[in-house]
Subunit: 282 residues, 2 copies
């Protein structure tokens, strides 16, 4: 089955986009691992209609709303998006196809800013792995997204060390992959990164890949070569990225990180997709 | 007292703007006669957080939210806005002052489209009354906004006939003003309006003023000489009109007439006013 739209994210922006699309007569699918930023919000007082509500309560009301409109929601982690006539969304559990995709997966919280100033640091194995053929690589991360990036890098070099930076390893890796679970103490280098220090030891490297947490909108967009702006996904006035059919809204596109803004954009984004799908009927 | 901001409208856009401003530490005042378009909406299914809710219920929740933040709401009809160092808001009950004003009073529903194609038709006595010195005028309307426009026109000409177009007259007028309560049957003219037909009679006129219902954002903006775009109020990326300190958001500025969009704009508009007030501290 090819969905009219796959929406990545089940926070306010994602649910609103899906609700509008469904009511426009389309079949959306929502994929998200969790509710994103709102999961940890204890008190919301500035969302119209609620004098006071918690993030988890509001998220739950949103899910219920989608359920009542029979919008399917999959609790899966998205690992990669690719495009070949249609979009292919690869998750931890399967591959799904859609005519359009909406990145409504929140602001990027998966950056590793200590490394950002160095050359030789990448957030995308598919994009940059090739530059490190048979070189020594560090891969920072601990979950399934890290494992996905590792599987790409393993075809390029055998010399890879995984750094969890103090997090416990949740991905299952083959035993011959060295894993350092200590906190990272320092990153060395002049212009280019040269070594990582952790647990009192220094590991010389030629390059470093970051794959912390889930693949954020930011990292997914980077994989696809999407234009960015101030570390957010750049969109036009129709909430479309520079890749035809790939849309984004909510915190993922930056600006005011507010529920009100996110749902306003969700409604407008869905309306733009409605026009897009009508024009590209096939 | 000079308010930081007077917000005209107590629908989603107005309340959201006020809630954000209050939480930014400012003192907003809301003035509105009613809840606007939502008053008549029986079923809302596309507003995030509610599987199903009626317009009046949602409006009431919004009012409650403003009340709990001690934001004052006046149930008064706004007749005119003027600017002289500060903004002066004239209502049916008083005059209020503010550093900024937000037009969040919904889409204009007060147009009289049958007359729109003719020259000699105006929505603003203050703007255009002067052109009709000692001429024969028709004034279409029945409430206090019509009475307000009449008071302006009476200084210009004595030959004014009020047409309620079938509505019952709610404004109190002096007895020497002729009032036609019949439905308007036809508007005559070539390029220019020349006569109005009602109750089987034809009334020759030189010009016609429209003052139906409340003064909408559209008419208030016209009075101030604000730039319009497609019959909506034109704003820049900070939701400011071409008059410094006068902002607008929600249905009043056109586009998608949706609660989601309105509250997204309310949040962004308040944030822009926050910056504006900080810059113009005096």
């Amino acid at each position: 089955m090819i969905y009219d739209s796959i929406i990545i994210g089940k926070g306010p922006a994602g649910i609103t986009t899906a609700v509008y699309l469904k009511r426009y007569g389309y079949e959306p699918l929502i994929i998200a691992k969790d509710g994103g930023a709102l999961v940890h919000v204890k008190e919301i007082e500035n969302y119209y209609g609620f004098s006071k509500i918690t993030g988890p309560e509001l998220l739950e009301r949103g899910i219920k709303q989608a359920n009542e409109l029979q919008i399917p929601i999959l609790e899966e982690e998205v690992l990669e998006i690719s495009f070949e006539n249609v979009f292919f969304i690869t998750t931890t559990k399967g591959i799904y196809q859609a005519k359009t995709v909406v990145l409504a997966c929140g602001a990027s919280k998966n950056r590793y800013s200590k490394a950002d100033k160095f050359e030789g640091v990448s957030y995308c194995a598919t994009c940059d792995g090739f530059f490190y053929r048979k070189k020594r690589l560090a891969l920072i991360g601990s979950g399934s997204y890290m494992a996905h990036e590792l599987s790409v890098l393993e075809n390029i070099t055998k010399d890879i060390t995984v750094f969890t930076d103090g997090a416990s390893l949740t991905a299952e890796l083959s035993e011959d992959i060295p894993v350092v679970v200590d906190k990272i103490e320092a990153i060395h280098g002049e212009e280019r990164i040269t070594a990582i220090e952790a647990g009192g030891k220094t590991y010389p490297i030629d390059g470093c890949f970051i794959a912390i947490g889930n693949a954020s909108g930011f990292t997914l967009a980077k994989h696809l070569g999407i234009a960015l702006k101030n570390n957010s996904i750049a969109v036009d006035q129709n909430y479309m990225t520079n890749l035809e059919g790939l849309f984004a809204c909510g915190d993922a596109i930056g600006g005011l990180l507010q529920i009100s803004k996110a749902i306003g954009e969700g409604a407008s984004c869905a309306t733009a997709i409605f026009s897009y799908l009508k024009k590209h009927k096939s």
